[in-house]
């Protein structure tokens, strides 16, 4: 079993590291700093941390005001409250202004677990993807979270970084993170699996199992949802017989839709969608929820086997 870490722990530690190097970094939270781990930054740099209480809309627009004065602003809350509750503030005050605000949303996806539907953001990628100027990263594990956060800090403009609640297994031996450039985790020409976030690990398990059955699957970690790595998608469409997209998100509007948009316009090919099929979440343990919503490595393997000729 691979090493398992919390993405949000690494996020908090990365903020502290970046904050020590760059005095211009300011961090905001809305009464969830213990969960999002921005409390690590708050402890080190209390003069550059602001807690807004349970008021995400105010936090979001205040971030824009800080950015208008040259600050690099990182802010965090749960994904449902960031992308959902404060969407209009992100749209006008951050996106339209093209301000240097990094929304790092934690507790995204079904694996939030027992808190249930109200707290399981299954539509946040869709909500962010339709905003011009918004860059979107879904890191697949904890080390990649550090790379993504550092990349966002080094580039101007708005970012949405999507993190989970639970511990995530680390994907070993992958290339260095390059913003906007996907990673090939395993090579193969029979089928391509494109995944993001925790689904990369599930997909990798499926790839290993498929290999034993003689099927060579290409696995792409599409960590950057916008700007999308169209080149890698089209290469997959041309070189492999079909594509399976795996995401811990509604199949409407997220990574599957992103892949469809590229493929259908340029090189039509069958794209199978493995994600939440337009349902709300519910309470349960993360592993049970992945089973219930068809997001396990077994589900991915089945999808490949039933579509391969």
């Amino acid at each position: 079993m691979a090493e398992q870490l919390y993405q949000r722990d690494v996020y908090g530690q990365t903020l502290v590291r970046l904050g020590a190097q760059d005095k211009n970094i300011v961090v905001l939270d809305a009464d969830l700093s213990g969960s999002t781990r921005t409390n690590l930054f708050a402890k080190q740099f209390p003069d550059r941390f602001f807690n807004f209480g349970v008021a995400e809309q105010n936090m979001m627009a205040t971030a824009a005001g800080l950015a208008s004065c040259g600050k690099t602003v990182f802010l965090s809350t749960f994904a449902v409250f960031a992308a959902g509750r404060a969407w209009d503030q992100i749209r006008i005050s951050i996106g339209y202004n093209n301000f240097n605000v990094k929304v790092v949303a934690t507790h995204a996806g079904i694996t939030v677990g027992p808190d249930g539907a109200s707290h399981q953001a299954l539509e946040d990628i869709a909500l962010m993807r339709v905003l011009p100027n918004m860059n979107i990263i879904v890191p697949c594990d904890a080390p990649q979270t550090a790379e993504a956060v550092a990349a966002a800090a080094s580039m101007p403009g708005p970012f949405y970084i999507r993190l989970g609640r639970s511990k995530v297994p680390t994907i070993e031996n992958k290339d260095e993170f390059k913003f906007g450039k996907s990673q090939v985790i395993s090579e193969g020409n029979d089928v391509t699996i494109i995944a993001c976030g925790i689904m990369v690990y599930e997909a990798l398990s499926a790839v290993k199992s498929l290999a034993q059955k003689g099927i060579k699957a290409r696995l792409i970690n599409m960590h950057t949802i916008w700007p999308l790595d169209n080149e890698a998608i089209l290469k997959a469409a041309k070189e492999t017989s079909f594509i399976v997209v795996c995401e811990e998100h509604n199949v409407i509007g997220g990574l599957a839709s992103s892949v469809d948009e590229v493929v259908s316009e340029n090189f039509p090919k069958k794209v199978i969608h493995l994600g939440i099929r337009n349902r709300f979440g519910q309470s349960g343990e993360p592993a049970d929820l992945l089973k219930e919503y068809g997001l396990t490595s077994l589900d991915i393997e089945k999808a490949v086997l039933s579509n391969i000729s």
């Binding site: 008021a55 105010n58 627009a61 205040t62 005001g65 208008s68 040259g70």
Partner: protein, 273 residues
Amino acid sequence: MENNELSIKELELKAKEARRLIIEMLARAGSGHPGGSLSAADLIVALYFNILRFNPKDPQWTDRDRFHMSKGHCCPLWYAVLALTGYFPKEELMTLRRLGSSLQGHPARSTAGVESASGSLGQGLSIGLGMSLAAKIDKKDYRVYVLLGDGEIQEGNIWEAAMACSHFSCDNLCAILDSNGCQIDGRCEDIMGLEPLAAKWQAFGWHVIEINGHDMRQILSAYEQAKTIKSKPTIIIARTVKGKGVSFMEGVIDFHGRAPTKEEAEKALKELS
């Protein structure tokens, strides 16, 4: 830029000129919001000509005072004042709302002197709060001014920001409430009552100054008083008349969001000459 302060009489003349420009550009554009642009004209003219520190030749000067118009639909007023203070030529005002213009129907950063977009109501006090916190972090002495509409403060985001400005002791921030008593669907008190305004803001921890928003002496004195208030933010509740300065627009709800026709504009300009 250290502006030479204008006299009361000169400020009143500038306000009249701003009102004329508002009427002209709205008539030319054929759409837009005259009522609230006219009601806040005296407040914003006084602010830009006698209070605000800025340099139109260097809009990004780091020590500039910040102004943000949260009630973005009244941007014709903002654009008129930015032109009058030298941010761009007056002729540009006549491109308002046209395809490709830097003067959008609601404020955008494409306009010189505009710090942040607005137009979706209720976000601007938070923008001002962010500017205020940035000044504190950087130990700068610039001040932040935010213009709010009274219909606008029905938005919940305003009260989140009101709470936070007070919590963070933002004494470098001054909100200006253009209390003209009207919103699109009618009088504020009929649509969604706001009074008692002063008591509400006081309860949120603000220093409150109530004035007649068309009396230049009261306006200047309120801005000066706000500068002296320590450890809490100030709000100037300016009682104004919607459509102020044009007799047939004063207090008329219809002119919240309807541009004057050519004939109405001619009549209005005559009154403002």
